[in-house]
Structures are given as C-alpha cells and as structure tokens.
C-alpha cells in the first residue's frame, strides 16, 4: 500500500518553483531548467541518480507486467493446454462484458467502494479532529490506539471478523440478539446483504485509521490564524468547520478519498476469507483471481485484470481532475 501524505507546499524542495507534489520521474519543467544555476542543476542530476534505479525497477515491476497482461488478454490460453494457445483479438473482452457475472461483480465492488469510503471519511474526520485537539499528554497513546487496526494484517483481521460473526463460533449473534433481525439462527454469510455488511464493517474498521491519518495531516496545515480570525468574528464551531477548515484542507480530503477509493475498489482479502465470493459477494479482484489463478485461463484472467486496471485508471482520472482544480484553487488563494 502506498501512503503518501498530501503534498502541500510545506517541504523545502530543491526546486521551489516547480509544482509541489511532483517528485523525480514526474514532468519536469524544461523552460525553467535554463534559469537554474550550476548548483541546482548538479543537485537535479544527483536527484535522478539517486531516484533513477528505483524508477527503473518500478517500470520493470509495474509497466512490464501490465504490457504482458494486455498482450495475454488477446489470446485464448489455458496454462494446462499450452499447445492450444490461439489469438482471438478482443474475444475475451466480449465474453466478459457480455456476462452478467462481470457486471454484478462490478456493482458489488462499486457498492463496497462507495459505502466504505463515505463512512470512513466521516469517521476518519472525527478521529482526526480528536487526534488534532487532544492534549499533548495523551496525543501519543491516542494516535497509537487509533492506528492499531491499520497495523493488523488484513487476512488476520478478516479471520477475526469472520469468526466473530460465524454462526457456529461467533459471539455477535448472542451479544446483539436484542436487536431486531439478529438471533442465534442468523447466518451472516449465507446471503449477500448480511455478508456484505460484515465485509464492509471489517473494511471500515481496518482502514479508517489510514484516512484519519491523511486528514490529520491536512488538518495540521490549516493556519491557526484563520480559525482564530473566524472565532473573533463570532463564527460558531460549525461555521468555522464549514467555511474555514474544510475548504482549506480540500486537497488532503481529495487525496484521502482517492487513495481509499482505489484501495477499496481492489478489495480482495476480506471477501476471499469470509465468503470466497459466495452468495452475491463476488468482487472484481476475486473474479480476476478465479479466472487466472483457479481456472488457469491466462487469457481470460488477463482480460479481467486489464478491465480492472482500466476501472482504476478511470477513478484516478476523475479524482485527479477534481484534485488538481482544488489544489490550484487553494494555491491561488494564498
């Protein structure tokens, strides 16, 4: 999992003129290069030398497999029938996109993404506020306590949630029997809605700390003078929040939403452990796994993966477009 803190112009960069948030490997500003002194140029070169190997490794481990997957997706190819490999163009894509299984997995994945990100954003913001406002004495232990779920391996937390809700070994049914609809005979994993509820709850529990950490970074960047000025002007807590704090941390919120949305969209572990995709809980990553790993249908599986990748790109595209506008807006106001 990548975890970058939202880039606002806070770190003293080597090149203060360039767009914040663009590291080595990003688009460099050629016009500006001419104006740089020898020292700056040497530092830039050093930067490339230091980051270059990592950049090349990145290309090797991400770009190459992506290209390979795109290539394989054009074939009908089963690992256990190597002799019958056959070029079928976009045939695999036609099979996938005309199949209800793909669409139902896509809707399930989208549902999980939207619900978990929305809930996490609210919860995460509340936790970020608590961490931000907490007294110095309890700040450390509080942050640690909030971050613990995020430190637990997803497979482990998935098993913990599974056993808690399991009809045979779980305690949830007896603890919450007073709630309508819950009794000792409720089998959470036997139908889609209840199974998805547990999967999403586990996902939210596990990754809310991540989003709250990103939001805390954003919160820390809101200048105190602004909130103080608002307070002097008689703004209520809610008005400060709505008119000062949230607009000033929009970039952090967008980064948090983007990262979590991408993560949630690629959900695998929780579903794999709890239901293995049974009873309407199939998600896209699991569908790709089932085709290429279980069925050993490399062509079909690659095509599912490529489509999954395209979905991720679309989410990125939408989010980054929004994100850029906000970032520019925030800077313009400065």
């Amino acid at each position: 999992m990548t975890s970058a803190i939202p880039a606002r112009p806070v770190s003293p960069d080597l090149e203060p003129d360039t767009t914040p948030g663009v590291g080595p490997g990003g688009p460099s500003d050629k016009k500006a290069t001419a104006q740089y002194s020898d020292r700056v140029r040497a530092e830039r070169r050093l930067g490339w030398i230091l980051a270059g190997p990592a950049f090349i490794v990145m290309l090797a481990v991400t770009l190459y497999p992506i290209l390979q997957a795109i290539y394989e997706s054009l074939f009908q190819f089963r690992l256990t029938a190597p002799g019958e490999r056959e070029f079928i163009g976009l045939g695999n894509y036609a099979v996938i996109l005309s199949d209800g299984v793909w669409w139902s997995a896509l809707w399930t994945t989208l549902l999980i993404t939207i619900v978990t990100v929305a809930v996490e954003l609210v919860l995460g913001f509340a936790l970020a506020l608590v961490m931000h406002k907490a007294l110095k004495a309890v700040r450390g232990p509080l942050r640690t306590a909030i971050l613990v779920p995020y430190g637990i391996i997803t497979v482990v937390s998935a098993f913990a949630w599974f056993y808690a809700f399991d009809i045979n070994s779980g305690y949830v049914n007896s603890w919450f029997a007073w709630l309508p609809g819950i009794d000792s005979d409720l089998n959470w994993f036997a139908q889609g809605p209840t199974a998805l509820f547990v999967i999403m709850a586990s996902e939210i529990w596990k990754t809310t700390p991540f989003i709250s950490l990103l939001l805390l970074a954003g919160l820390a960047q809101v200048p105190d003078e602004l909130t103080e000025a608002a307070k002097v002007d008689g703004a209520t807590w809610w008005e400060q929040m709505r008119k000062v704090i949230i607009p000033n941390m929009k970039a952090a919120i967008m980064v948090a939403v983007l990262f979590r949305a991408l993560d949630a969209f690629r959900i695998f572990d929780n579903v794999f452990i709890m239901t293995n995709g049974a009873y309407g809980t199939e998600v896209l990553s699991l569908l790709a796994y089932r085709q290429s790993i279980s069925r050993l249908e490399i062509g079909l599986g690659s095509a599912v993966s490529v489509l999954l990748f395209l979905c991720v790109l679309i989410i990125c595209f939408i989010a980054i477009k929004l994100f850029k506008v906000d970032l520019a807006g925030a800077q313009g106001g400065k």
């Binding site: 099979v95 199949d99 005979d185 089998n187 994993f189 009873y279 279980s294 050993l296």
Partner: protein, 437 residues
C-alpha cells in the same frame, strides 16, 4: 475448503507440523551425507507429520540411493492444485514426488505434466488396491499416478436418534429415511451445504448413487462435454438437496457448513445423522480426551455405509485420498518411482492410517491388527471404498466443480426441477468459453 478431511487434531497441530517439517528439512539438509546422494523433493499436503515420517523411513531404507525431503503445500486441495499446476507448467524440476488429489490428476496428466509410470512400478504398486483409488489415478486407460491412501465418506449416526426413529442400522438406510427421522425428531442432518468443494462431493455421490455420472464422457474435449445432471439421477439428487435445504433439516448454518462445522453440529444436542470422512472419529475422541465433549458421546456414535438414494440399490460413497505423481521435468524420475514404491508399501500405509487417520488404498494394509483397534469402523471404511465412485475425471474438473458449487449452494435455493438444468447450461457455457466462472 478441504475435501480430503484429515483428523482435526491436525488443525490444532498444524503449526507444530509446519515447525517439525521445517526442522526436519533443516536437519536433513544440514546433516545429510555430502557424498552426492540424490535428493528427491516430495511435495506433501499438510498432515499430522505422517508423510515426513515415511520420507525419513524410506530414506533410511534406501541406504544412500536417495534422500527424500518433504516440502509443504497449502492446506486446501484447491490451493495445492494451483501451486502444483503453475510449477508444472513452468517446468519446475524440483517436483520429484507430489501428493495429488485425484480429481485434479487428469488436468495434470492431459498436457503431459506427469512422468509416465514404468510398467514394473505400475505392476507392483497396484496389487490389491481398491478400484476407486485406481480409477482416480488413471487417465485415458493409463496409470498416471500411484494410489497412496484412499478416503471415503461414511454415514455417522447417533444411536439414540436412530433408535427413536426405529431404524435398523445394521442394514443400509436411504436418504428419505434419514430426512423423515430428522424431521420427526427436530434434529439436524449433517451434510455439507457451503459453496465449496464439499458441495460437489455431495452432489456427485448422490448422482453416482442414482446410477449416473455427472459427466457422460469424461474424456471428451471441453466443447463436447455432456452432463447428466438432468437425468433422473440428477433430478433425484436435486430433490434430496432441496428437501434438506428447504425444510431446514441441515440447521441454520447449512449454507456455510463444511465438513468440520457439520461434525461440530453432529457432536451437539441436535446431532442425528451425518455423512462425513473418517477424521470424525479421531477428532471426536480427541475432543473427549481434552474434556470439551462428554465421554458418553462416544458410546452414542454409530457408523454405516453411505445412505442409498434408491432403496435396495448400493450407494456410491464419495472418494478422496492422495495419489503420488512424478513431475515430467524431474531430473530423476526413475529414482522418484523407486522412492514411491517404498512410500506406498502396505506397512507404511497401515502405519499412516494408525498415526494420521488416513485410510490405506491397499486392502492388504487393513490386515494390520493395530487398525481395528484405532478405527473400529475400518471394515465399514473398506466396504465403502469398494463401493465408492470418484468425482468426474476430466481436465476441466475445476470448471465443473465450481459450476456445481455456484448453482447448487445454498441448498435452500435448489429447485428440484430448475437447478439441474440451470447448472448444466452454466457449466456448458463456461466450458465453451462463453461465460465467466
């Protein structure tokens, strides 16, 4: 989900097993003779340490001809297959000996991933081997793997429940009798309704007991495969599954119930009858010894052959187990087969049954006196093995099995008329590459 059920003490001791296997491997590699003795790698499914013991014994007996090292595969059959298939396809030369689940053997044999069995080895290792295990190790009339142990499901029952129902358990009973008995006494029938391999095991046994096979011609290419799910036997199977599901006879947890959870329910107050692998016996005894179950439970447990679908017609119980294969890319297939001859000796099979609870494929091994003591139901197991029928032997087993799981689970959604048809259409279109799985 594991199909080959092992004794559940294993589940608890898995960590210990892993540790001891690792330690064993380290010891072997650390203290092994430096004289260039050929090392054979045996990829084993997790067990209670029995395969590692056999590897050690055979290494000793070989007197320096070879040394067997074990390497642990993932815990469930499907993941074992995934790992082996990928390694075999990549031409991994370390796959000298592999513990293979029979349903996946055709898939590996068809593309030539398994080294051919030498005639003399085939001759010496197939004497007195139960027919089902032999069928499971055969592909296109040729032996492609060596049967090691054979598993089968038997009918477990609570004597008190059978007595109250007035059933004569000395004779085979039918599914309908069990359904009536459980319904009358408001007890749960122990069947496996989870969307997992165990569902295929159940459906296959029902269809086979009705005198049909799920796949009409298992050797047909993928686009010509025909299914017999819509035959009278298939419809009858759907009726039984649907009745148990819709009348709630499997209990509220049926839709997610596998072999282990059905055993736990069977041991509880609502237990009545259950179809399950022999691991139930050591697991229940272990739980009684550990004090988690009442000792009187053991007295109340009886066993018989798998229930019949049609009264008077022998059932075809599920068949599981492990056969040993040799990778085609192995550097020394002859030596590997020599080692296999040692591994599958009747003495080793008997020892493995007593220590790990996995029944021998060789009937000669059942004559060991220790077996009767540890497994009072050994005769029933043997009889069941003779009657058993393998799951569809096809290179497309994964598609067929997953297709059945996705259409037959949960049992409460099975429609006695619609499901066999829906299942057939789904599997056929997946096999023709027109649909995703």
């Amino acid at each position: 989900m594991p199909t080959r059920k092992r004794n559940s003490t294993r589940n608890r001791s898995r960590a210990g097993t892993v540790a001891s296997v690792l330690a064993g491997t380290l010891l072997l590699s650390g203290c092994g003779p430096a004289d260039g003795t050929k090392t054979l790698t045996w990829y084993i499914n997790p067990d209670a340490g029995g395969q590692a013991d056999i590897a050690e014994r055979c290494t000793e007996e070989a007197g320096g001809a070879y040394r067997i090292e074990t390497s642990l595969l993932p815990s469930d059959a499907a993941s074992q297959r995934e790992q082996l298939a990928r390694r075999l396809a990549a031409g991994d030369s370390s796959l000298d000996i592999m513990s293979l689940d029979p349903p996946f053997i055709p898939e590996l044999a068809e593309p030539g991933f398994l080294a051919p069995v030498p005639d003399d080895v085939a001759e010496s290792t197939t004497q007195n081997v139960v027919e089902g295990a032999l069928a499971g190790a055969t592909w296109k009339d040729e032996l492609v793997a060596i049967p090691f142990w054979a598993n089968t499901q038997i009918l477990w029952y609570r004597k008190s429940v059978a007595e109250a129902a007035g059933l004569d358990m000395s004779k085979p009973v039918t599914w309908d009798q069990l359904i009536d008995a459980a319904a009358e006494q408001d007890k749960y029938l122990g069947v496996q309704g989870a969307q997992a391999e165990s569902m295929t095991v159940w459906v296959n046994a029902l269809v086979e007991s009705g005198g049909e096979s799920i796949i009409v011609d298992p050797e047909a290419p993928s686009d010509e495969i025909e299914l017999a799910l819509q035959s009278p036997a298939g419809l009858e199977a759907a009726r039984i599954v649907s009745t148990i599901g819709n009348e709630g006879l499997g209990g509220p947890g049926l839709a997610t119930q596998d072999e282990n959870t059905s055993m736990i329910n069977f041991q509880g107050d609502n237990g009545s009858f259950m179809v399950n692998w022999p691991f139930v016996w050591p697991a229940t005894n272990g739980a009684v010894e550990a004090g988690t179950l009442d000792a009187s439970l053991i007295e109340d447990i009886g066993w018989g052959v798998y229930p019949q679908v049609t009264e008077g017609e022998d059932s075809a119980p599920p068949l599981g187990g492990i056969s040993l294969g040799v990778g085609a890319a192995s550097d020394s297939p002859e030596l590997a087969y020599e080692a296999i001859e040692c591994i599958v000796s009747p003495e080793n099979q008997a020892e493995y049954f007593v220590s790990n609870g996995n029944p021998p494929a060789n009937t000669e091994a059942y004559e060991d006196p220790r077996i009767e003591e540890a497994f009072p139901m050994a005769d029933t197991i043997r009889e069941s093995l003779e009657q058993s029928a393998p799951r569809p032997q096809t290179p497309f087993y994964n598609e067929v099995s997953t297709g059945i799981q996705q259409t037959w689970a949960p049992p409460a959604q099975v429609d006695p008329k619609g499901t066999p048809e829906e299942s057939t259409e789904f599997i056929i279109s997946v096999l023709r590459g027109e649909q995703l799985l």
